[in-house]
Amino acid sequence: MSGRSERVRGKLSYAEAIREALDIAMDRDERVVLMGEDIGVYGGAFQVTGDLFGKYGPERVIDTPISELGGAGVAIGAAMTGLRPVFEFQFSDFAALAMEQIVNQAAKLRYMLGGAVSVPVVMRFPAGSGTGAAAQHSQSIEAWLGHVPGLKVVQPSTPEDAKGLLLSAIEDPDPVMIFEHKLLYKTKGHVPRGHYETPIGEAALRRIGHSLTIVATSIMARKSLSAAEELARQGIHADVIDLRSIRPIDRETVLASVRKTGRLMCVYEGVKTLGIGAEISAMVAESDAFDFLEAPIVRLGGAECPIPYNPELEKSVVPQEPDILEAARNLVQGRI
């Protein structure tokens, strides 16, 4: 820690922050191993693992065959027997192939074996739309896994959180699912050096206001923040909560904000119906914060259809900044 260059460095991208977290974790704990399709020599479908294969070799950066079910099963078994595997899916959509291992094994074993084992596996899921990858490579399925007791599910929206939540996940004794929005990989931000952990289950209040509460996840937190800047110029001041973790959910941060603002809007990319917004809305409706509501709750979520390939249609089926602006104005100015 000597000299200016040690203390000051440029911003890192979200993908670089994840790679740095993996590197730090592998360096300090040899139980940490990486698994996934094309994560070794090729460096990962989104170049997240990069050159870690060169640094740690094929024993610790393991290319798995094209079988999500098999790969996930190996990672879970390795976790039960003492390793700390980080398993990368090429696309979160392919979790569907590995659901048996994730839902019926990883999430259940500690419970069913009376605590005799735990499954400290981390699974990384490149997620979301906006890359022109069409219906089978663009979904936001975090709510599927958020429905399963025994899993933890996080959605970092900044490079700093991508690193801190991954380091927390690796330390966690239970399976942690990390959803990384593909459009975020190239976004840059300040990332603290060295090892640090961002607690799982704590939301981040990104902006403080009094007119309404916006609870958003992943890339929608960024879009909401940007919309909130514009809203502020129009005299509408939003509390913007980046949920970061959907299981467990940071109930108190959401409720405290709703008690203050009396107006709640949820913004998320997953399909709106039976999604994260439904959970947040119900949580508020079931709590004392209900008594502070001044207007109906608003949810902005993905449309009830597969993600289209056509880029214009693709944009139209998930909330965009103008949608957030309009919905917030309608909510605050008493049009609903």
Binding site: R233, Q234, G235, G262, F292, L293, E294, A295, V298, G334
Partner: protein, 420 residues
């Protein structure tokens, strides 16, 4: 989705209206703007126009009394199926209707809250916060008129209701008064101008030394309630009533703009109780006033549109900072506040003319009187001051606009202090 025809709010304190007569019958075709029905309120009868094009369906009976914001019928588009009204039809006996809660649908539709009629008999739309406030204070939510969407009772409606009840319990129409905590000597009464409030004295107050201060606020301004009668004689009577309620032996009066005119009227009516009169850019000394500037301020619903007009109130426009404008806009956010001030402006300054003349009152007032005016005033011309009789002191301030108490508080305070 049929267009809802609602009972409009046509005057300030209207809670419900009676359907006198329909101009068209159920099944008739109407166009937007056609006369649809006549209503009668406590104060007036008026014609209501159609809000859309289509076929009128399910009109409520003539003679029915309907709360404002609640539907009295629906206009269906040509060919739109209308087997049932969007949620149970009102009758003349029952002004509230079946609830059609907004449904979350799995078919891709937006989460519209149903815009159909609502309310199971005897139930009211009210926000949870409004309900808990009403519950905490122990009164029936049903007694409150909602001003939110579809007549929803919101927290502000409950608070306004509370404030109204409190002030009614006090004296009928008295203005809100705030007093400084300490000070000795003859008290100073401060009355702000139109579309302002007691906060406009803050800068002057810190220069006024240790005298007790009593700030009044005009109806529909600051914390004062909205009054129905807003002509100059009504306002002057309210100011007198509020002043009498203070039971002071003697007071110095300082009024700005409209507040100046009202305190001049007060000094004329209560000469024995007034120690001195200071008029800052007072209204009432001539017909001219900048109607465009008044209208611009009244019209503004956002800080972006308010700011440019506020800047015209001062000579040095850098005084009007963005945060100042935002604070001013926050005070004007309530639609009811803006509506009340518009009604006042319409009565006091019709067509951009000062409709009241206090030159005769100024000629009669014998207490020591001075007029302060900024020579760059763009609201009321400073040369109105020249119409004052010879014993009135006139202070003309260079490089100052319509708000000397904000633009040059030290100098204004020095002039006032020297004469107290």
């Amino acid at each position: 989705m049929p267009v809802e025809v609602i009972m409009p709010k046509v005057d300030m304190d209207m809670a419900s209206g009676k359907i006198l007569a329909w101009h068209v019958s159920a099944g008739d075709e109407v166009s937007k703007g056609d006369p649809l029905f006549d209503i009668e309120t406590d104060k007036a009868a008026m014609e209501v126009e159609s809000p859309g094009d289509g076929i009128l369906r399910f009109p409520v009976d003539e003679g029915a009394v309907v709360q404002i914001g609640r539907p009295v019928g629906w206009i269906y588009a040509d060919g739109e199926v209308a087997s049932d009204p969007p949620g149970g039809i009102p009758s003349s006996k029952d002004e509230f209707r079946q609830s059609v809660p907004g449904e979350a649908t799995a078919d891709g539709s937006r989460n519209n809250i149903s815009s159909g009629p609502d309310n199971i008999s005897g139930k009211f739309r009210a926000s949870p916060l409004a309900r808990s406030l009403a519950r905490a204070d122990g009164f029936e939510i049903a007694t409150i008129v909602g001003t939110g969407p579809r007549g929803r009772i919101e927290a502000k409606d409950v608070r306004n209701y509370q404030a109204r009840r409190e002030s009614e319990a006090d004296t009928s129409d008295a203005l809100a008064v705030s007093e400084s905590a300490s000070g000795t000597g003859t008290p100073i009464i401060l009355l702000h101008g139109f579309a302002s409030d007691a906060k406009s004295w803050t800068r002057l107050e810190s220069n006024l030394g240790q005298r007790p201060l009593v700030r009044m606020e005009l109806p529909g301004h600051g914390r004062s309630q909205i009054l129905k009668a807003v002509g100059f004689p009504d306002l002057a009577a309210t100011v007198r009533q509020t002043f009498d309620g203070l039971n002071l032996d003697k007071a110095h009066l300082i009024g700005h703009s409209l507040g100046g005119a009202l305190l001049l009227d007060l000094a004329n009516a209560r000469p024995d109780l007034v120690a001195s009169l200071t008029l800052i850019a007072p209204a009432g000394l001539g017909p001219e006033i900048n109607g465009e500037l008044l209208a611009g301020i009244l019209r503004a619903t956002r800080s972006e549109s308010l700011g440019p007009w506020l800047k015209k109130l001062v000579a040095d426009e850098s005084l009007v900072t963005e945060s100042y404008v935002q604070a001013a806009m926050r005070d004007r956010m309530e639609q009811s506040t803006r509506a009340a001030q518009e009604a006042m402006a319409d009565a006091l300054f019709p067509d951009g003319v000062q409709a009241f003349d206090l030159r005769a009152a100024l000629a009669r007032v014998e207490v020591p009187t001075r007029i302060l005016w900024g020579k760059q005033d763009r609201m009321i011309q400073w040369n109105h001051a020249l119409r004052a009789p010879g014993r009135v002191a006139i202070h003309l301030l260079d490089g100052i606009g319509h708000m000397p108490q904000i633009e040059a508080p030290e100098e204004v305070a020095r002039i006032i202090e020297a004469n107290l």
